[in-house]
Amino acid sequence: MVDQEEAHTEGAATAAPSVTHSGLDLIGLTKVFPGGTAAVADVNLHVDHGEYVVLLGPSGCGKTTTLRMIGGHEYPTEGDIVLDGQSLVDLPPHKRPTTTVFQHFALFPHRTSLQNVEFGLKMHGVGKEERRKLALEALDMVGLAGYKDRKPGALSGGQQQRVALARVLVTKPKALLLDEPLGDLDRLLQLRMRVELRNLQRELGLMFIHVTHNQEEALSMADRIVVMNEARIQQVADPLTVATKPATEIVARFMGDNNIIRGKVVEREGDRLVVEDDEHIRASVIAPNARHAVGDPAMVSVRAAAVTVDETGSAPGTLNSAECEIVFVEFLGDLVKLHLMTGGERMLAKVNAQEYPSLRGREGERIRISWKEEDGQLLDA
């Protein structure tokens, strides 16, 4: 299940949709709400069984609408949703082999946890004995067998979340859809549930499609991340690629802690480009597919974590370096975030926590930063 990570790394967003007979395909999926706003525009995506895909983006980017269309809670204006060769578009939610963990768990308040878990089986006509047995197994799976007679109101947030999980897993869906499943939990619980949820998914070998606006959550859980913005897919890639090689400016900004150098191409030598901005910061970047010519506007992003601080300093005008003023030294426990200013541009550098004693209290001083050419990433506009 894990080795599938290699299979789809990048570029799936732009690839033409090919309907295979296994897995889920979204083909030209579009949703226009009354009033003409497109919530989802031409989304194409293939998800394999056993894959953990996270739809990531700011609120209103169309990720939840996409999930709701897969689950049957919204009808697409255009496009198709195909699961294992069967189109789901005309099926109501209760006839789809998908189930959803809703944002606020959506448990039935008047039913005990056991009755909540039994519900799906009851609706599918499973006999009383059998469904009780399966429901107890599912509750045991999430560690709540001892809470079977409690109503949701008498359970903690984390326990409610696990009941919601048992309730959908017991119906053996082909795809599990999770809408901000960790959003209602305390941060500490969130961090730990991430790992457990991901482990559970690996053991079950089920397709999980998870919606979140939390970058860290997406990076830590996904096989593949689908970054969305304003109804469209910005990038589809594994977490490492999204974190280190954002495809577009929007992805670079949304993922955070990226320095964006916006300027013009001043040199081009084969695949190697040099971009210079108004502050005369010059960044070189290797971009095999770039169509930029000298003089074209271009953007290069550099992760804050790839930036190093040079006390000794290199000469001004050197490639991939800049002289900055320290605006704020932010200590984050295991690292230090330097908020810097170079001319009119803000820049960020993340360095090891052990550098903190030597950086503390140096706001206002000037410092030189630099980065390696391979850490530069040419962005699409």
């Binding site: 939610p93 959803t100 809703f102 959506a106 119906t171 619980l189 457990e196």
Partner: protein, 327 residues
């Protein structure tokens, strides 16, 4: 719905969430709780006297105008009837007389039937209206607007509406008979529409239905939409969602509406008197006629029996829902 992709490994040994770390986190979070709730409880106790002071005028009002008369009625029902009213010698005669009065029990039975019909009819007719208003009308503004329109009959006086029911609407020459004759459904006006038990029962449904629609509307409006969606998602059709999700959450509204209508119709006197045109009797009109005939102790005894019956009925109705927990 069996997943074809479940690997054999997962089938052979039970899959479980590894909860050690999760439970530890829950434990850490729980430790902060006692402090927080302790503080709130103390604050609540301090506020207790202030709340009691605010409630005092209302409690005095209820004590003076509701409890005191009830106590007086109970006392009077045990006193002896005289031509001038009653004297204060204790007797059970008023009750034994009532127990042997078949006309009284006949009356009680027909009033009970009327009330039950009203409760059931209001529920059946009112539920779809409340359901539509609360769950199908999407815009809040339209929802409130339609609800206010539904309340419109209550802007006119009760008596006006009750009188409008008699000659203009249900009478021999009334609109209903006219329409049915025009439509050739009947050739002769139907007498039973006016001043009859039927017309009293029909009028009661119309007059009291809003006491059912209102609590139903408010409980239906609170039904968790995402729970409704998740029931559909888990394989429930409309009826399954209705029975398993909507109905349990609406029970408090059904119970409150039923209590309202049962109590109001059992004690109703005005509707029966006007719409029934004096031909129809109920427990209410009977008590009224006893009081009119200066038979205060007998009237009081009838009233006490009615109160006991109502309390019993309300108790039975509340068994259908744990109001304290569900509301």
């Amino acid at each position: 719905m069996a997943s074809s992709s479940t690997p054999d490994a997962a089938r052979n040994r039970p899959t479980r969430l590894a909860l050690g770390e999760v439970e530890e986190a829950e434990g850490i979070l729980r430790q902060q709780l006692p402090e927080a709730t302790g503080g709130a409880r103390e604050g609540g106790r301090k506020g207790g006297w202030g709340t009691a002071a605010l409630a005092a005028p209302g409690m005095l009002w209820i004590g003076f105008y509701l409890v005191a008369p009830l106590v007086i009625i109970i006392l009077v029902s045990f006193w002896t009837w005289t031509d001038a009213g009653f004297d204060r010698s204790w007797t059970l005669a008023n009750y034994s007389e009532l127990f042997h009065d078949s006309a009284y029990w006949h009356n009680m039975l027909s009033t009970l039937v009327t009330s039950l019909i009203a409760v059931v009819a209001c529920l059946i007719l009112g539920f779809p209206v409340a359901y539509f208003l609360a769950l199908k009308v999407q815009s809040l503004r339209l929802q409130v607007g339609l609800f206010v329109i539904a309340l419109a009959p209550f802007w006119t006086s009760f008596l006006t509406r009750a009188i409008a029911w008699t000659f203009p609407l249900m009478g021999r020459e009334g609109a209903l008979n006219q329409i049915l004759i025009k439509l050739h459904v009947i050739s002769e006006p139907i007498q039973a529409f006016g001043f009859s038990t039927l017309s009293v029962r029909l009028a009661m449904i119309q007059l009291y239905i809003l006491f059912m629609i209102t609590p139903l509307f408010f409980t239906l409006a609170q039904v968790d939409r995402s729970a409704l969606e998740s029931s559909r998602d888990l394989g429930a059709n409309w009826w399954g969602s209705f029975r398993e999700v909507i109905l349990p959450q609406t029970m408090p509204g059904i119970v409150i509406g039923s209590i309202f209508i049962f109590v109001l119709t059992m004690g109703d006197y005005g509707t029966v008197a006007t719409v029934g045109g004096g031909n129809i009797t109920s427990v209410g009109t009977l008590i009224n006629s006893k009081i009119g005939a200066v038979q205060y102790p007998q009237g009081a005894a009838s009233a006490v029996l009615l109160v006991i019956l109502l309390m019993g009925a309300v108790w039975v109705i509340t068994r259908f829902s744990n109001l304290r927990e569900d509301l």
